[in-house]
Symmetry: C2
Subunit: 314 residues, 2 copies
């Protein structure tokens, strides 16, 4: 299998730079004191569409052939990837077809429609989503852009770590959340490409610990009935992301739901920025493993800030 290399991520960064925000790296003296380490938050919550997903989507869109661009792109997702692909496509005048379960929240439908994508609704099962996708692809020849099982997506996601380490090269550890593994694959490939001594650590909810178990056993174990507030981290690794993570990631830590919620609240209260539960996981693993992280310089990839304020856990 062809795995993304560090230079692929560098190329992706050059390619997407005109389209993305260079997001800020923020710190909080209060949180540093509280956790007894130095933390640098790479704030992809300030990225376009409010999530790092815009990086990968833009890279994938820019790498389409002229013919593919004419026929448009398609994905089945109701989350940040759907919004990211819709906007990245719209910016280049490309059609985006989004297959969504009919149960998707209205705000997510509105976001995707606001970016001009065409939504097709289906039953809320993986089979229905894939079947609906297949029918549309057969009809109009659009290119499927998978949210993480995609070489170009992974390269795009790795560019957040590239900017982080460009700004803070003397970091000891970089932590990123793991859902389907796209962000972690890109992040760990980038970290090891820049400096092999920097640790690349994955963070996963204990209640959705398929990547943790896959990593520890060396075998790809799918996610079964995950139940976590970190709704961006429910998906399983693909063979591609599993392979990259096995190669480049130093370790994976898990954290409990209450630590995720506490960490999210702490960032909101002390830093006055909105991060989503799937981002709070990176602080939650520091909270649960103080010995490992004590006095270290740590880069935290804050994956996004899309929160439903009507359903807060506190």
């Amino acid at each position: 299998m062809d795995l993304p290399s560090f230079s692929d991520i560098q190329e992706a960064h050059k390619r997407i730079k005109p389209f993305i925000h260079r997001t800020p790296v923020l710190s909080s003296r209060q949180l540093n004191r509280l956790f007894d380490c130095q933390m640098f938050f790479k704030c992809e919550n300030f990225q376009k569409v409010g999530a790092f997903k815009f990086r990968g989507a833009t890279n994938a869109i820019q790498l389409l052939t002229a013919d593919q661009k004419k026929r448009g792109v398609i994905t089945h997702s109701s989350g940040n990837h759907a919004a990211a692909l819709s906007l990245a496509a719209a910016i280049s005048g490309i059609k985006a077809y989004i297959v969504m379960p009919e149960t998707a929240p209205v705000v997510k439908k509105n976001a995707v429609e606001g970016y001009g994508a065409k939504i097709t609704f289906c039953k809320p099962t993986l089979e229905a989503r894939e079947e609906t996708c297949r029918i549309i692809m057969e009809r109009n020849g659009s290119t499927l852009i998978h949210p993480y099982d995609n070489f170009n997506i992974i390269c795009g996601q790795g560019t957040a770590a590239l900017e982080l380490l460009d700004e803070k090269p003397d970091i000891d550890i970089v932590i990123a959340p793991i859902g389907g593994g796209g962000l972690m694959s890109g992040t760990s490939t980038c970290v090891k490409g820049i400096n092999n001594k920097i640790k690349a650590i994955g963070a996963e909810p204990l209640n959705a610990d398929d990547a943790f178990r896959s990593f520890k056993s060396g075998k790809l174990i799918p996610s079964v009935n995950p139940l976590t507030i970190a709704d961006g981290l429910l998906t399983s690794l693909s063979q591609l992301t599993f392979s990259v993570i096995m190669k480049n990631t130093d370790d994976i830590f898990t954290a409990k739901e209450e630590s995720i919620i506490d960490s999210m609240l702490l960032v909101w209260e002390r830093m006055k920025i909105i991060i989503e539960p799937s981002s709070a996981i990176v602080l939650a693993v520091i909270k649960e493993n103080p010995g490992y992280f004590r006095e270290k310089k740590i880069g935290l990839i804050i994956s996004g800030g899309n929160v439903d304020f009507r359903k807060l856990p506190f």
Copy 2:
């Protein structure tokens, strides 16, 4: 009455610069499109203690005489000013005495205690607060630092606008919230000192519109039973702040509760930053007066980001 001048604000800025954060000026293309104007948010929610109040408190503390410093400072407040005065005093090794109603929320007590101030609780009436203050002052000779009816406090609060206009000198209008009028007094004095053509506009909840009515009638009208989610804007103007506002403020706009809540949510959702309801009022008046603000370059003083996440209005 001796009113603060522009050069007093410039002096204050030099004095407090080593202690404060220079907060960022943020923009949102989405919000600009939505409101058909160019907005520059001066983000005092990122200031120390999460509010602009740290500026005024620091200025007042730094201007104490050696003897006053020995005897400490006192105020009666349960809000951002209490936290700001406590931290500003602690930084200079000065004692702070805070008189608080026994009904004050635990989080506010904890914040003030965390900064090392000594809290004295009293009955939740203005009389009890003033009486308790008086007793402590008689006992230890501490200096009362009023949250807004204080020359040095006003000069400190004006430094936020100074930084804003230093960064964005070609702004047409600056808007700040009005509660007791300390921030508006400092802001309008600064704006007029820099460029008389820039409009200084106050923003006030319709449900606490004492400054609006005072301004329009030319007579100081106290706030009676104000009821607004913008809990930093409940207080009445003092003779001092009223005089400054009459002299330097171009107009005052009010906004309804629903506009304040909508505006707060909009900033949270689109900009991914936490602002408190008392800050959302500045966007709310733009929302309610689109004709006045259309196509203008507007500076918005975002006063703070201290929110009780367990009591959200949405």
